[in-house]
């Protein structure tokens, strides 16, 4: 694994501070990087070369492996294998601090600032200027901050509490913090997702200034127009694999989309044609203030409605609102033609809804509990309980039958769910909802992190359920899944429905066009 000529991060740090910068066109070169997570190959021998003084965009669908690669570059993950060269020298980063001290700084998508602290304290945390008694010199720290902000043309008071800043300003502070480490490589993960046009312009000015200083910027984005405005080069990833690197001047928007989604649909989606029945769920002008607005659609019995859109488009929020997790600000939901008020998940369940959430860990599994308890928790709300006592005999039998049907691979229903692989945990959660006999089934990323075999099983199951007259809403970031399974596809962009495509007219390019702008 370790090449003989690999030098330690400490040595690299020393060489760097001595000012003797080894000559190399590339700031950063990685090749043959492989990273596996249990059950998933996140990165399959990918490569990336970042030139000095360029903005390099990373493109790919959700789950293409961009974020994993960035986390490897920033020292958060360690790759299973691969070579890693920084300024022409082999290096092995052990942790984020290693990366930072070697001039690689990452600006996270979800901001990492400590809200109760001041801007200056946030920027210099761990490196505060101190007097010889170890007391922090705040005046000096604020001066340093001001100097830094002046260089970047940022106008923020260093002494203001970070929590009171707008998202855009917090983003600026994050960037200033990254620059303050004298980083040569800056990684920005969708930095404009929360910014207004004016703020984006300002950000781009800063990025251009940094580029002029010879820094390399890795820029992850889903927005095509930004790409052409700021990026010099771009690399495309798909399904954990490296596809290509090109000059952004040499390619068109369509080329990029094709490279991003251009895989053959080798997996057969066992979508059966089933008779479509009456409208079961009708959503009109559904709004959740500040998240999504005026979303309207209907789903019929036996129909699978795909919800497509980028992360942050509001797909999951719409699902959560329909299920009562975050009740709507306005708009109406009707079930079987009757307007209902869904104030909580328990009300939604009473109306025959089931909701498989996106995040298995956060909102799905009861990790300390066993498979049996995890399977039965939702159905206990309305069934299998007599005088307060759980009718465990019948329930265990039915739960086990369901687990067998979905081929949950476990020796025992009393196994803690934490010991199962991600795919099996997902199957247990699907069991949980199927036990409730839903009429409306909402699935948010039903096959995320699941291997191909299990995926096909889950797809077959979804198809079967639709065949039995269940109305299915399926959210997925995977285009082939959306295209393969859906009867109709509703595309969301920034909290608004931008279009509905029928199964016949939908293709990946059309969806991407509706999903970006």
């Amino acid at each position: 694994m370790t090449e003989p000529n690999t030098i330690s991060p400490q040595t690299m740090k020393a060489v760097r501070s001595s000012g003797a910068v080894p000559g190399s066109d590339y700031l950063l070169e990685v090749a043959d990087v492989r990273k596996e997570f249990p059950g998933v190959v996140a990165l399959d021998n990918v490569e990336l070369r970042l030139k000095r003084g360029t903005v390099h965009a990373l493109m790919g669908e959700n789950g293409a492996g961009k974020s994993t690669l960035m986390k490897i570059l920033a020292g958060i993950y360690t790759p299973d294998s691969g070579t890693f060269k920084l300024r022409g020298q082999h290096i092995r980063l052990k942790n984020p601090l290693d990366a930072l001290e070697n001039g690689i700084a990452m600006i996270h998508q979800e901001l990492n600032l400590m809200a109760p602290m001041t801007v200056a304290e946030n920027i210099w945390i761990g490196r505060e200027p101190m007097n010889r008694f170890g007391i922090i010199n705040h005046a000096e720290m604020n001066r340093m901050t001001e100097a830094l902000f002046k260089r970047l043309d940022i106008d923020i008071d260093p002494e203001v509490t970070t929590g009171t800043l707008s998202v855009a300003n917090r983003q600026m502070v994050e960037i200033a913090k990254a620059v303050s480490y004298n980083s040569d490589v800056l990684i920005m993960d969708e930095p404009t997702s929360a910014l207004t046009d004016k703020e984006v312009t300002h950000l781009f000015t800063i990025i251009r200034a940094l580029r002029a200083e010879g820094k390399g910027i890795i820029y992850i984005t889903h927005k095509m127009n930004e790409l052409f405005e700021i990026a010099d080069e771009l690399s495309v990833f798909r399904d954990g694999k490296y596809i290509a690197t090109c000059n952004s001047a040499d390619v068109t928007r369509d080329d990029i989309i094709r490279m991003m989604v251009g895989r053959e649909i080798t997996q057969m989606f066992p979508k059966e044609t089933v008779p479509i029945g009456d409208v079961v769920l009708k959503v009109e002008n559904l709004t959740l203030d500040g998240v999504f607005r005026d979303v309207s659609f209907e789903v019929r019995a036996g129909e699978i409605l795909g919800l497509a859109g980028l992360v942050g488009s509001g797909r999951s929020n719409v699902a959560e609102t329909i299920f009562g997790v975050t009740p709507a600000s306005s708009g109406s939901i009707s079930i079987n033609g009757k307007v209902v008020h869904i104030a909580s998940p328990s009300v939604a369940m009473k109306h025959g809804m089931a909701f498989l959430t996106e995040d298995r860990k956060e909102t799905g599994c009861f990790l300390p509990l066993d498979i049996q308890d995890n399977t039965q928790m939702a159905v206990l709300q309305h069934r299998y309980v007599h005088m307060g006592f759980v009718q465990q005999g019948q329930l265990s039998k039915d739960a086990t039958e369901m687990a067998n049907r979905l081929r949950v691979r476990t020796p025992d229903m009393s196994e803690p769910i934490i010991n199962l692989s991600g795919g099996n945990q997902q199957k247990v959660l699907i069991c949980r909802w199927l036990l409730t006999n839903p009429k409306i089934l909402i699935l948010d990323e039903p096959t995320r992190g699941i291997d191909v075999g299990a995926k096909a099983e889950i797809h077959r199951l979804i198809s079967q359920l639709a065949g039995q007259g269940v109305a299915v809403i399926m959210i997925s970031s995977e285009m082939p899944e959306v295209l393969g399974m859906s009867d109709r596809i509703l595309v969301l962009h920034e909290g608004r429905a931008t279009g509905t495509l029928t199964r016949e007219e939908a293709d990946q390019v059309k969806i991407m066009e509706l999903a970006s702008h």
């Binding site: 909102t363 799905g364 509990l369 025992d412 949980r432």
Partner: protein
């Protein structure tokens, strides 16, 4: 993680069956036996007699822990939801006072009910009356105060630690205010009967202990076999997942805290009956003994994990340690020092267990 997946893959069972395995309390039971054996050996060595072969002592061990045991059963359920109840000791004190005041006899020249001036309003019908009154009043009061704990936590969203801390301080104040700091004594014998022992084959069995075991059995059944129990574990294991599974978390938490309050009430009533009096400082720091018993018994403060059987064993461990030290004539100060160490050691083991689990 990868290894485990492989292991499971190798077993490759699609047919599911139940496998019997040792209950998690088994290790705690071993600890209890180990401690008892150590005291037995030390007993022969230093005192020259057996620690365990003494009916009187065994009876005292359980008697000592019965009251804290009852509240420990309640606090176990609260901790399983991921919360904590600091108010149980104060509730025991206050409810012991109130129960005692309703169990007075005419022998007591100075009937105490609320503050003395209220006696003038003819509020002394309870003197020499049925022992059911003090019991009912005590249980209802416990239920009400526990419900209030749950209501505060569920409706305002403040942490359980703070809500029950406030309750702990205020209720202690109430128990002093109730009689202006005076004890209530000379109680109705039909009431104190509940605090007495009866003999079974020459073994003195305190009724308090019977109540403790009954409470433990009922709550064990409730946690293991009812919807109430399943939801209690679910909320502690993952509140967000519980909500998405349709569980009304606020409503359920109120129930759990009300049950804990009810059990504190019961403990207060039993304590008054046993001590044949009510004193404003009864039950001080009982809440900590109860929490310690639950934690020693394997209940995780992180929530979602814990069983009544473990708590019962944890309670007995605390009783055995106290009794053993007294038997070895170790000074009271040393006893407290060591008790503290045992509690911390138990939590260290718990944390270690959690880590091992998440690594699996």
């Amino acid at each position: 993680m990868a290894n485990v997946t492989n292991e499971l893959g190798n077993t490759s069972t699609t047919g599911l069956k139940k496998v019997r395995r040792l209950p998690p309390e088994f290790s705690i039971l071993l600890v209890l036996l180990g401690i008892a054996v150590v005291f037995e050996i030390l007993g022969w060595y230093f005192v020259g007699e057996s620690f365990l072969a003494n009916k009187q002592r065994l009876s005292i061990i359980v008697l000592q822990v019965a009251v804290t045991g009852i509240i420990a059963v309640g606090v176990t359920q609260v901790i399983i939801t991921g919360g904590v109840d600091l108010s149980s000791g104060s509730m025991v004190g206050f409810i012991a006072m109130v129960a005692a005041s309703f169990a007075q006899t005419s022998l007591n020249a100075r009937a105490v009910f609320l503050q003395p001036e209220y006696a003038a309003f003819g509020l002394n019908w309870f003197i020499d009356s049925s022992p059911l009154w003090p019991i009912m009043v005590g249980l209802l009061l416990g239920l009400l105060l526990g419900w209030l704990n749950g209501f505060l936590i569920a409706k305002t969203g403040i942490p359980p630690f703070i809500a029950t801390l406030g309750m702990m301080v205020s209720v202690r104040g109430l128990s002093k205010w109730y009689t202006l700091g005076q004890p209530v004594a000379l109680l109705n014998e039909r009431f104190t009967w509940f605090g007495q022992s009866f003999e079974v084959a020459g073994f003195p069995v305190p009724r308090t202990v019977i109540v403790f075991f009954l409470v433990a059995i009922i709550c064990h059944v409730a946690l293991a076999y009812t919807r109430y129990g399943k939801f209690t574990y679910a909320i502690g294991a993952n509140p967000q997942a519980a909500r998405v599974s349709g569980i009304d978390i606020g409503k359920h938490l109120i129930k759990v805290y009300a049950v804990a309050g009810l059990l504190s009430g019961l403990a207060g009533v039993m304590l008054a009956a046993r001590a044949q009096s009510g004193q404003p400082n009864m039950g001080v720091s009982f809440e900590l003994d109860a929490i310690a018993a639950a934690v020693i018994g394997g209940t995780s403060l992180a929530g979602g994990v814990g069983r009544i059987t473990g708590t019962v064993i944890g309670t007995i461990i605390l009783g055995v340690v106290t009794s053993g030290f007294t038997f070895l004539k170790v000074g009271a100060y040393y006893q407290e020092i060591v008790k503290g160490i045992i509690i911390v050691a138990a939590v260290i083991i718990d944390v270690h267990r959690q880590k091992k689990k998440s690594r699996a």
